[in-house]
């Protein structure tokens, strides 16, 4: 049952991810954004299969909720209709395929050499309690720094969105 669910979610993630990058039917950024939402939701399914329940919820709330709404707002604000008829250069496709293939080769060769028999059976449960314990004891300083980072991001965005950007 779990294996079937894994293969379903993995297949969905990869297919939707491909449709984000290269949709054969439409080059509209809105379709890419919608397929990115679906990719993120199926990734949250994979997180649940890995028992990372809190992260799956955060993934859907923050990514599929907040971040994608931001993307869609910006796409709506910039009227991008005339971008669709531009051509993709073959040089870009060749370069992209070469670099992606290189990363795949590096990964596969290292996976073949990896001592996977030494990996333990799955043990970690990602509920809220162990995560919160770590977050508020061992990782308290990074947690506070992240809050400062968010504040800086808010101020930066407000400054950048002003009408008369100097």
């Amino acid at each position: 049952m779990q294996d079937a669910l894994f293969y379903t979610f993995a297949f969905l993630t990869l297919v939707f991810g491909f449709l984000v990058v290269a949709n054969p039917f439409s080059r509209n950024p809105v379709t890419s954004a919608m397929f990115l939402v679906l990719t993120i939701v199926s990734l949250a399914g994979l997180f649940v299969l890995l028992h990372a329940f809190f992260l799956a919820a955060v993934q859907i709330l923050v990514y599929a909720g907040a971040v994608m709404v931001l993307f869609l707002f910006v796409i709506m604000m910039l009227d991008l209709k005339e971008e669709e008829r531009r051509k993709i250069k073959t040089l870009g496709i060749v370069g992209g395929l070469i670099s992606a293939g290189a990363i795949l080769t590096i990964f596969l060769s290292s996976l073949l050499k990896a001592p996977l028999g030494a990996v333990q059976s799955p043990a970690v449960e990602g509920g809220t309690v162990p995560l919160a314990k770590l977050l508020f004891t061992q990782y308290l300083l990074p947690f506070e720094i992240v809050s400062v980072l968010l504040l800086v991001a808010i101020i930066g965005v407000v400054l950048l969105s002003k009408k008369d950007l100097k």
Binding site: Q2, D3, A10, T13, L14, G17, F18, V20, V21, A22, P29, A33, L36, T39, I40, L43, L50, A52, F54, L55, V58, Q59, V62, Y63, V67, L70, F71, V74, M77, L78, L80, E83, R86, G92, G96, S99, I103, L104, L111, L116, V119, Q120, P122, A123, V124, G126, P130, L131, L134, L135, Q138, Y139, V146, L149, L150, A153, I154, V157, L160, L165
Partner: protein, 104 residues
Amino acid sequence: MSVGLEHYLVVSVLLFCLGLLGVIVRRNLLVIYMSLELMLNAANLALVAFSRYTDRPDSPDGQVFVFFIITVAAAEVSVGLALIVALYRKRQTAHVEDLTTLKL
């Protein structure tokens, strides 16, 4: 063969390659940004998988790391999209081929 760590890693690296392909091939700034998000999510999947299979049972350090990545990515997206909007106001384009002022 039951699903193990390596299955999740293969999915993660394939998703990362898709994102890389999108960053290099696509010419629209917004789609490039979405491909960057795909790459971040691929890294998150690898981290969660490693955390599930190799962390100590009572301390999911990898998941805390993913939590931080999600937070920083949200901040990064907001700043980046504000930059794109500011750029669009000045140049009326969101297309990388039209943004070659820094080219020598």
